[in-house]
Amino acid sequence: MPDQAPHPVLQLKDLTRVHGSGATEVHALRGINLDVFPGELVAVMGPSGSGKSTLLTIAGGLDTPTSGQVIVENTDLTTADRKQIAALRRRSIGYVFQDYNLIPALTAAENVALPRELDGTSARKARTEAVAALREMDLDSLADRFPDEMSGGQQQRVAIARALVGDRRLVLADEPTGALDSETGESVLALLRSRCDAGAAGVLVTHEPRFAAWADRVVFLRDGAVVDQTLRSQADSLLTGQAAER
């Protein structure tokens, strides 16, 4: 939660996205407004097809809106040039895709190191950081494996390590727990939560209420629009006074 009105890391303003045109037109987003502040983790929930992935890809500069603005760390992605967007994506934005998207020809460590190397970090330093990020996911022993030599859940965790490596200000995760068992999924959430507690802004798309519950705010999408959102209670006592004191 923001303390002294800091500036949002991510701002979406009147965002719309129409796929296709004419008879096949799909209004995937219809006027979304959303600010995500440093230290805040926002979960986005909604039925399949409600526009969650569309929202996230636009926030990550991977897709452009039909209208509206996307501002990441004071850069408006809708007017920035490609180079600026690419730099933001390498430096500030960590992205976990719904289908984890590792590069098959690279090992786990190389996959994780890639964004850092592209950003000019020396290969050795990038490798060290990558191994550290893998260790956080309990995956350091798999550093030299290729994606097709890992289980789905392991690939997923490598993809998460890649999104968290370096100092990302904005972490966007689309169903990052999809391929994980309940306990591992929880450890991923705990990690995401701790990144946000350390000052990053996070947006998590999920179908799982139990994972969404780690967020400070849960936003509900339906047919491309925000229909509702919850904040966690301000009050500390939820069960009884005694319970909360423990």
């Binding site: 039925p47 097809g49 509900f220 919850t230 966690r232 209670s233 069960l239 009884t240 319970a243």
Partner: protein, 231 residues
């Protein structure tokens, strides 16, 4: 809820006074289900009547000390051994509310679902935060471990409810789509009958239009076809 067995379980570790039992019951369950002293004594009286506990002296203030009997131990073992009955579930207010909301005039059931979902998810957010605070439990502190288990039970239970609400909504969207399609077909049939006025009744049922044209596929039309999972 079995206060009875809870008290027996606590008494198995040694004789206790009523007020002690109350405190221990609450600290074991994180005060999730607070007990009042009256409930504790009523329960103890019944246990005594049934031969599960006996009194063994009292303190200076006249409070009785209770001790578990062999019959009580047997009862407790049986309790741990047998599953909790889920086949005669207690009345659930939410299920009743949704059942009543189906077709209720002036009520949009999706709003009923969303307001419950809001509440349920928020409760989960709160439980999850309590849990995050509780994870530095020491594994040999019985109360800490028990509290974590109780909290996680609350999280899983609210999760089941949230998922069920998602499911209800998806199901309702699908049913209402089926309804609109039927309605459309009915109208078409009526128009057809009007065109061919005088041709009498045929009552023939035409196959449903497989792909209604000229309609934008609403995103909601994908709802209810199961979740897309990443592998």
């Amino acid at each position: 809820m079995s206060i009875r067995h809870g008290l027996l379980a606590l008494l198995e570790s040694g004789p206790r006074y009523g007020s002690q039992l109350r405190t221990e019951f609450e600290s074991r369950t994180g005060a999730t289900w607070p007990l009042n002293v009256g409930q504790v004594y009523t329960t103890l009286n019944r246990l005594e009547r049934d031969g599960m506990v006996v009194q063994d002296g009292e303190d200076d203030a006249g409070h009785a000390l209770y001790v578990i009997t062999d019959a009580g131990r047997e009862e407790l073992r049986n309790w741990f051994r047998s599953p909790v009955d889920r086949r005669s579930p207690p009345r659930d207010e939410l299920a009743i509310k949704l059942a009543m909301a189906v077709g209720a005039p002036g009520i949009d059931i999706r709003d009923v679902i969303q307001s419950q979902r809001h509440h349920t998810v928020q409760a989960m957010q709160d439980y999850t935060r309590l849990k995050a605070q509780a994870t530095d439990v020491s594994p040999d502190n019985r109360d800490d471990v028990a509290w974590l288990l109780v909290l996680e039970q609350l999280i899983f239970q609210t999760e089941a409810e949230a998922r069920w609400l998602d499911h209800c909504e998806a199901r309702l969207v699908r049913l209402s789509l089926m309804n609109t399609q039927k309605e459309k077909q009915r109208r078409k049939e009526q128009e057809g009958a009007a065109d061919a006025a005088g041709d009498g009744t045929d009552g023939q049922i035409r196959p449903a239009d497989p792909a209604p044209t000229g309609e934008k596929p609403s995103p909601a039309s994908r709802v209810g076809l199961g979740r897309s999972r990443s592998r």
